[in-house]
Amino acid sequence: MDDLYREVIIEHYKNPSHRGKLDPHDISFADNNPLCGDHIQIDLRVGADGVVTDARFDGHGCAISQASADLLMEFIIGKPLEEVKKLNKESVLELLGIDLGPVRLKCALLSLKVLKAGVYGLGEASDDLVE
């Protein structure tokens, strides 16, 4: 339990530092976790050099999904989009610092899926994006 609900996760869940929307934005995308209906929207601002200058997430979900979204936003600010495209399952688990079973993994990866679908300009946030 301590593993799964590390203090940092509860902290990011309760007091997210990157929750909200960006208006104007360069990229915006939203999708659901089909298993639970959790919803995440991500807005990005991207500089002319292709570097993420600001990032926000909005929506609702469990501690794992919200904390991973917050941690992810924090992580990508200042990174070039090309690097963002390379993020995968392991990147998120590293940010969270925990191990997850197949169902909770979907919670943790929702924000990354939405992020990558947005960056690639796809119609939906599919699982292959994070494999």
Partner: protein
């Protein structure tokens, strides 16, 4: 069957000996993690299986396994007899007039799709109205969405009231628009609401509509009598009623089933095949294409035997007692909001939210104490949307659950609150 009921009346009328019943379910002995015993409160998703069901399938594979119908050797005769014998007992269990009205499918979902593909595509045209309810499971929504997109049928919905009941007045108004089909759940898998199925069907028939009952939650928990209900179609799944996965049933009135075109084409559902044409077989085979789920059908037979021996009234009474207690105890917890009607109007389901804590987190933290509840929209997204929430936690109770397990749940919820406090 009569004999079994008599035996039980002698022991203790209306009472399930739950300590004894629990011994029939090997999984209930299981430790989820070292020192932590399983508290299984997720039977609405799928029930656990008694030894008699597990053993029946095991025996089948060790002793009698063969493909059915077309074989004349001993094993083929044996497996055909077992497979068809299970059908007869399932037919009796729901009081179907005959076994040939019991079509084996994979699950409730396939049963409903069978009606949507075969009956509905043969009988519904653009503009025809199908009435559903706002509390339907996705399995009784999406097949109709697909038909709406393909055929231009119209859908309308009986609203759900604040306390989780169907708004029967609006239903009556909808009926005045001459629907062709009324398809509704007998018991909600979220609210637990037991809908007045006989009344809904009577009114539908008076308005000239055919009826389909989603019995996924009622067949496991209530005494179902399809003739008494006068249901045209009745769909249910074995896995929710002590049976195996991979097998379900569509019951239908004989004249309807006979009038319907086949659904899946292939072996066994035919009477004769030429290179360029075929003639369909008679009921129930017309709707069972290919090698069916033989071991699973036989396991389903063992499951209804098990339930019938305990007695469905006894099961319902036991569940009612546990549910009533659970609702009482849950209501006392600050921050818990329960959904659905009071215990007298519902089956063994308690869906709730906990202020400020996501149901996934509730379920995950309960799991640390071995308590298995489900979290999410439970395949009823529109119902959750209606109540303005994305998800709930859901504890559900079956014949093996006890009040002590309810206490475990309540203690667990206090723990969750503390962790997020």
């Amino acid at each position: 069957m009569a004999a079994c009921v008599l035996v039980f009346l002698c022991v203790d009328p209306m009472k399930l000996d739950v300590t004894k019943t629990r011994k029939d379910f090997p999984i209930l002995e299981r430790e989820v993690r070292p020192g932590v015993r399983l508290t299984y409160l997720d039977s609405t998703a799928t029930s656990q299986k008694p030894l008699s069901v597990i053993q029946t399938m095991d025996d089948f594979y060790r002793m009698s396994n063969a493909n059915i119908h077309r074989g004349v050797h001993s094993l083929a005769e044996e497996s055909t007899t077992l497979y068809e014998g299970a059908r007869e007992r399932i037919a009796k269990f729901i009081n179907s007039a005959s076994a040939r009205q019991v079509i084996y499918t994979r699950n409730t979902t396939e049963s409903i799709n069978l009606v949507a593909y075969s009956w509905a595509r043969a009988n519904l045209k653009q503009g025809d109205l199908v009435i559903l309810t706002e509390m339907e499971h996705h399995s009784n929504l999406v097949p109709w969405h697909m038909l709406q997109a393909e055929r231009g049928i119209e859908l309308d919905f009986v609203p759900v009231t604040e306390d989780g009941l169907l708004d029967m007045e609006t239903y009556k108004t909808l009926l005045s628009r001459s629907p062709k089909l009324v398809s509704f759940t007998h018991m909600s898998n979220v609210l637990g609401t037991i809908n007045p199925a006989a009344e809904i069907i009577r009114l539908a028939h008076a308005a000239g509509a055919i009826t389909l009952v989603d019995g996924a939650q009622s067949a496991p928990h209530l005494q179902v009598d399809v003739q008494d209900l006068d249901a045209d179609f009745f769909a249910f799944s074995a896995h929710k009623m002590c049976g195996p996965t991979g097998i379900g049933v569509l019951y239908g009135k004989a004249a309807l089933l006979e009038s319907m075109p086949p659904f899946l084409g292939g072996g066994d559902m035919i009477r004769e095949v030429k290179l360029r044409s075929f003639r369909a077989n008679s009921l129930p085979h017309k709707f069972e294409a290919g090698t069916p789920a033989i071991a699973e059908a036989i396991g389903f037979g063992a499951a209804v035997d098990y339930l019938a021996t305990l007695g469905m009234e006894n099961i319902a009474a036991h569940e009612h007692e546990v549910t009533e207690y659970a609702l009482e105890r849950l209501e006392e917890i600050p921050g818990v909001k329960l959904f659905g009607p009071s215990a007298d109007k519902k089956g063994g389901v308690a869906a709730f939210t906990l202020d400020g804590i996501h149901p996934h987190d509730v379920a995950q933290i309960l799991d640390q104490d071995g308590i298995a509840v489900r979290a999410g929209h439970h395949c009823a997204q529109p119902l959750h949307e209606k109540f303005g929430i994305p998800a709930t936690s859901r504890a559900s109770f079956y014949l093996y659950n006890t009040k002590e397990e309810v206490d475990m749940l309540v203690n667990g919820i206090y723990k969750v609150k503390k962790m997020f406090g």
